[in-house]
Amino acid sequence: MSRGPLSLILALAVCLVVSLFGENFIASKFAYYYDILITIGINIILATSLNLVNGYTGQFSLGHAGFMAIGAYASASWSNHLDPIILGMLGGPGNPLATNIGLFVSMLFAGILAAIAGFGVGVPSLRLKGDYLAIVTLGFGEIIRVAILNTDFLGASRGLSVIGSYTNLFWTYGSVVLCIYVVLGLVHSTYGRGFVTVRDDEVAAEAMGINTTKYKVLAFVVASFFAGIAGALYAHFKAFITPEGFNFFRSVDVVVIVILGGMGSTVGVTVAAVLLTILPEALRALAHTQFVPPAYQGLLENRLILYSLLLIVLMLTRPQGLFGDRGASRKRLSRSRGD
């Protein structure tokens, strides 16, 4: 980690090379897997950013999908209205450099807008504790969704088409690399220690001179920024977005990944994101083999039933998730209640 920015640039370079040479090959020959790869990337960004808030800082946010929605719709609007101008300036839609720059600017806009929203939601909400914070963030997520639903120039319930689908492996995994870099960079610093003290004992943290609100808001804003980025990637991948795609269940999806991975372990959450993206697909494939009696096929295909059982079983048996004993996560969920 002390190698710092150098390792970041290196990783980004690798992504670029893979994308430049492998993109078209993978996209055409392995289209199904290409889609899954992009989805994995988006889920990793969502989960590792949420982990900063829910895992390291111990604040239970249930509204992540709302910030993803802001990012998605912001970047979609930006691309739809401003891309023709930008592309015009840079050499037209056929020019790959131009389309990539267009996407980059659109993503940046999405992230910044989502971050601002994160600040607006975070500052008043983060003084609430536990259950109340969860409900308020859920409420904000829903308000954002309802607001989009009622906004005509964003397509309302009809949905919004996005011009061109520019998302590619470089932007997706480049963002993944950046997100993980930022999260780990903050975690392995005074800020990371600050986050964990807020999680462990807010009163004691305040007594040690730590401005807990500042740390909570910082985690929240950074997480919202990347949720926005993920939303932008998603919008430019699917080329069509609706408010329903960013509802409470979407937030729960991400929360499940964070819990499975072990709140407070970035590695664990990344692995969990990969697992939980692949799992529904694997189960769907399994359901159609001869090992599974037809009566149970539907059950395996129903992602939400399995998720819900997973949540319940996890909480009862291994609340610290897969990787919950490593690093800064340390048995937070499984120790008995002393306070």
């Binding site: 308000i143 309802v146 729960v252 998720y307 819900s308 120790r335």
Partner: protein
């Protein structure tokens, strides 16, 4: 005069809607009172109550001739009410059992753990109930059988009150009276109140906390089931996700009234119901769901203890 009728009309609509929210809100508030925990899955008990009625009614259709009466007459009223009442009571009983089972299996093992765990479990239970229902009974809306004839009540002039709305309001009043009796005048009600104030002292005094908690879940679930039946009489389309929005709104109602406070839950439910009706009446029906969230955020930011709630300080 027209203005007055108009206002009265909206009031009736609002109280009818609010009664449903109140019944559900009571479950949230009672469970929070004894366990300091928000039962995320409570809204889905309301849904299960409706589905229980949907599944039970055909079994008794012959005996009680559901759907065969067009209007209430002095001769058939008692008979109709008996039939509807039976379905409601059966549904309440079934959901009471479900509520107790959920507490036993999913929540009780986590009682000593941080509250975050059980909140996540509750989300899991909620998702499970919704999706299992969807899986077994289909995601499409189903038509709830007609338990009582639904028509405008005679003799109220220009006021349009449906029999179903009247049924909701009267049933809610009766249920509230019964609840008050249980909480204030029975031993177990006393135990519930004591438990919400000091669980440790309770068990020291020989109260079996587990039994009281189970009873609280049973009570709350029964009320939610009643709400499910009542709302389905008024609006006969049921679907597996029908508990989501009313559940959240009822939760807001409970917080508005002061979470943990039974009168507060009823009051909060009425206020939310009336507010929602007003929002529709003044011409913004698309914001009817948003108003509850707006109220939630305002409350939590300015007066988190609600209208009738108590402040609980953390001891340092």
């Amino acid at each position: 005069m027209d203005r007055l009728i108009e206002i009265l009309q909206q009031l009736v609509n609002g109280v009818s809607l609010g009664s449903i929210y109140a019944l559900i809100a009571l479950g949230y508030t009672m469970v929070y009172g004894v366990l300091r925990f928000i039962n995320f899955a409570h809204g889905d008990i309301y849904m299960l109550g409706a589905y229980a009625g949907y599944l039970l009614a055909p079994l008794f259709a012959h005996i009680f001739k559901f759907g065969e009466f067009d209007t209430f007459t002095p001769e058939n009223t008692l008979f109709i009410l008996a039939g509807a009442g039976l379905i409601m009571i059966l549904s309440m009983a079934i959901c009471a059992v479900i509520g107790v089972l959920i507490e036993r299996i999913a929540y009780r093992p986590l009682r000593e753990r941080p509250r975050l765990n059980v909140l996540i479990t509750a989300i899991g239970v909620s998702l499970f109930l919704q999706n299992m229902t969807q899986y077994r009974l289909g995601a499409n809306p189903k038509a709830f059988p007609q338990l009582i004839p639904v028509h405008v009540v005679e003799g109220l002039g220009n006021l349009t009150v449906l029999t179903s709305q009247l049924a909701i309001i009267i049933s809610t009043v009766i249920l509230l009276i019964v609840l008050r009796f249980i909480v204030m005048k029975t031993k177990i009600g006393l135990a519930m109140r004591a438990l919400s104030l000091n669980p440790t002292a309770c068990s020291i005094m020989g109260v079996n906390n587990d039994v009281v908690i189970s009873f609280t879940f049973a009570l709350g679930s029964a009320l939610a089931a009643a709400a499910g039946i009542l709302v389905s009489m008024d609006s006969p389309s049921i679907n597996p996700l029908m508990g989501n929005l009313p559940g959240i709104k009822a939760f807001v109602a409970a917080v508005l009234g002061g979470i943990g406070n039974i009168s507060g839950a009823a009051l909060g439910g009425l206020i939310i119901g009336i507010l929602e009706t007003l929002v529709i009446a003044i011409g913004f029906p698309q914001w009817r769901d948003g108003i509850a969230f707006a109220v939630l955020i305002v409350i939590l930011l300015f007066k988190p203890t609600g209208i009738l709630g108590r402040v609980e300080r953390e001891k340092v």
